[in-house]
């Protein structure tokens, strides 16, 4: 078989390298023995990894981030699946308009959402609370679940649930035993996007955090802002990349999720 022309291959390789270069640079910088970022690294050490993973502030931020990401993903999964189901079956009026409405957080500038939520939370007394932050993260992650779920539902024939009901399953049992298993690939994909989106969010989160709270990406962001760009930041970034990459591989192996991207 004849391959693509040489220049197509060359451009493709260049684009890939350009996209992956920052990742490689960060990973290389994280093992430098110097106290400042430098590429290529000087010497080799894993001390920076030890340092960030024993730093109380970083550990707290990591904990907050993962707790938030898991809780937001769970919330988005439940609400997003229910919303997608209702929209798909047109159980609500104006289903198309509502679907666009749910997608709004994808299109709206995140900073605008952050500022708006800050003022709103101040009004209703949710400011600086974990619950407020969680609700905000559900709102920005739920579109991914809804979208993945709607895509999957389009491939599930409505007659299947009817067949289950005729065979003696109540409405919810029919959903649980027939539709839900068929939605699984879409739900895994949606959950993955939701999790990463929550884990990585700065612009909305930064407005809603209390004085002594931080999430990992906000912590990284503020560290840079306050002057200290050291290999510790590169180390924590490398860890984040590894965790994300690992999750991606698992999701792809599990449900072949590239179909939903």
């Amino acid at each position: 078989m004849k391959g693509p022309p040489i220049w197509v291959t060359a451009v493709a390789v260049l684009v890939l390298v350009f996209l992956q270069l920052p990742v490689i640079v960060v990973a290389m910088a994280s093992v430098s023995t110097t106290s400042y970022l430098t590429v290529p690294p000087v010497g080799f050490t894993l001390d920076w990894f030890v340092e960030v993973l024993t730093d109380k502030d970083y550990l707290e931020a990591i904990q907050t981030s993962f707790l938030l990401a898991f809780a937001a993903t769970a919330g988005a999964l439940v609400l997003g699946t229910a919303a997608a189901y209702a929209l798909h079956h047109r159980m609500v009026p104006w289903a198309d308009a509502l679907a666009s409405f749910f997608m709004a957080p994808l299109i709206f500038p995140a900073v605008v959402i952050g500022v708006a939520l800050l003022q709103y939370y101040a009004l209703i007394g949710l400011r600086w609370s974990f619950w407020g932050l969680l609700l905000a993260h559900i709102a920005i992650t739920v579109p991914y679940v809804i979208r993945a779920c709607l895509t999957s539902l389009a491939g599930v024939k409505g007659e299947l649930e009817e067949a289950a009901r005729v065979l003696g399953a109540s409405g919810f049992t029919a959903f649980r035993l027939v539709t839900l298993p068929l939605l699984k690939p879409g739900l895994v994909a949606g959950a993955f996007f939701a999790f990463i989106t929550s884990l990585d969010n700065v612009p909305v989160t930064i407005f809603l955090l209390g004085p002594r709270q931080s999430t990992l990406p906000v912590k990284i962001f503020t560290s840079i802002e306050h002057g200290g760009v050291d290999p510790g930041l590169a180390a924590i970034s490398t860890l984040l990349i590894l965790v994300t990459g690992l999750a991606l591989v698992i999701a792809e192996r599990w449900v072949g999720f590239s179909r939903f991207v």
Binding site: K157, L160, E162, R165, V166, L167, G168, A169
Partner: protein, 362 residues
């Protein structure tokens, strides 16, 4: 097994009645077809019996039990979908076991084996639906519907997705299975030959109304109105006007009235292809007309002619290839004979009429 009884069953979507006062009794063990063109309401009736659609008014009784407001999953019915609707994520075994598990049956394996044996697919339990042919999927769907031993079996055009050869085989299998189990069955179809060959009784629907409910022979031989006459068999649909006891279609045609007709005016006239006899020699009979053969075509065991009646319309006649009339040629002069009892006259515009529900309930 149970009987099924529909009383004045009506479904409106907005102002439009889709099913309009359908009254129908299906006896225990009987096989009844709902036959009609698309949009006649047959599938709507089936879905209301299944509980997948709520009637606007009327009553549905399964045996002595009023199920009009009973939830689908508590009706104990079997339903075979046109698309089969097998659960793609479950094996054949688990598909068939689905209904049994919902009933709380402890040991499902022998019951599943029994159901699969009924459709001669006992060896396919471990397969997934997508690994089966259309005909096999269709039989698994049947086994799944029958495994929980429902009191009533509903079939929604289950044979229409199969190719012709397979359809004939399945038709025989289905008929045999239904007879052996003695299960009360309601079969929705738009295919008259399917309905005629499978059913104990046929319920013909048009525009949401029952046109006739009778045995296949009765429906074929004595159509209750013009709609049924045109729908069953292959009809010559003609127009004419009444004059006295004859109908004028260019030539005066004698007929035996089956429905109430106005004293005069335009009417629709239906004569089936197979009810037109052709003869080379003159015949003395009512409705014997001089005619000319214009076209001849061979359709398997039968020959189809287009003949022009002198002074009248062109009509189609279909005769057995073995008859003397099977050897006619284009241009031959013949006598066309139409039995007055085979001429169905109805007021124009013929079509759905609501005047036959009393008859239908009989």
């Amino acid at each position: 097994m149970s009987s099924l009884s529909l009383q004045a069953l009506t479904k409106r979507f907005g102002e439009t009645p889709v099913v309009d006062g359908a009254t129908l009794d299906v006896a225990e063990g009987e096989f009844v077809s709902l036959l009609g063109p698309s949009g006649c309401g047959k599938t709507t009736i089936l879905r209301m019996v299944a509980g997948l659609l709520a009637p606007t008014s009327g009553t549905i009784m399964i045996g002595p039990r009023d199920v009009t407001r009973v939830a689908t999953h508590k009706r104990r019915i079997g339903l075979v979908f046109q698309s089969y609707a097998l659960f793609p994520h479950l094996t054949v075994f688990d598909n068939v076991a689905f209904g049994l598990k919902r009933q709380g049956v402890k040991d499902v394996a022998p019951r599943v084996a029994e159901a699969l044996a009924m459709v001669q697919l006992g060896h396919l339990g471990a397969r997934f639906p997508k690994e089966l042919s259309g005909g096999q999927q269709q039989r698994i769907a049947l086994a799944r519907a029958l495994a929980p031993r429902p009191s009533l079996l509903l079939l929604d055009e289950p044979l229409s997705n199969l190719d012709a050869q397979l359809r004939d085989d399945m038709q025989i299998q289905l008929k045999r299975l239904q007879r052996d189990l003695g299960i009360t069955s309601l079969f929705v179809t738009h295919d008259q030959s399917e309905a005629l060959s499978l059913s104990d009784r046929i319920c013909i629907l048009a525009h949401g109304k029952i046109q006739q409910y009778a045995s296949p022979e009765e429906v074929y031989r004595r159509p209750a109105n013009g709609f049924v006459a045109r729908f069953i068999g292959k009809p010559n649909a003609l127009t004419g006007s009444l004059s006295g006891d004859r109908v004028d279609i260019g030539v005066p045609l004698a007929f035996a009235p089956t429905v109430a007709l106005p004293a005069s005016g335009p009417v629709e006239v239906v004569v089936r292809h197979s009810d037109v006899a052709l003869s080379r020699t003159p015949v003395t009979a009512p409705n014997a007309f001089a005619a000319t053969v214009r076209l001849r075509s061979f359709v398997g065991a039968r020959i189809q002619y287009v003949v022009g009646i002198e002074g009248g319309p062109e009509i189609i006649a279909e005769v057995d290839a073995n008859e003397p009339a099977g050897a006619l040629n284009v241009g031959d002069s013949v006598t066309a004979v139409i039995d007055p009892a085979a001429v169905y006259v109805s007021p124009a515009p013929a079509g759905a009429s609501g005047g036959t529900t009393g008859q239908a309930a009989a």
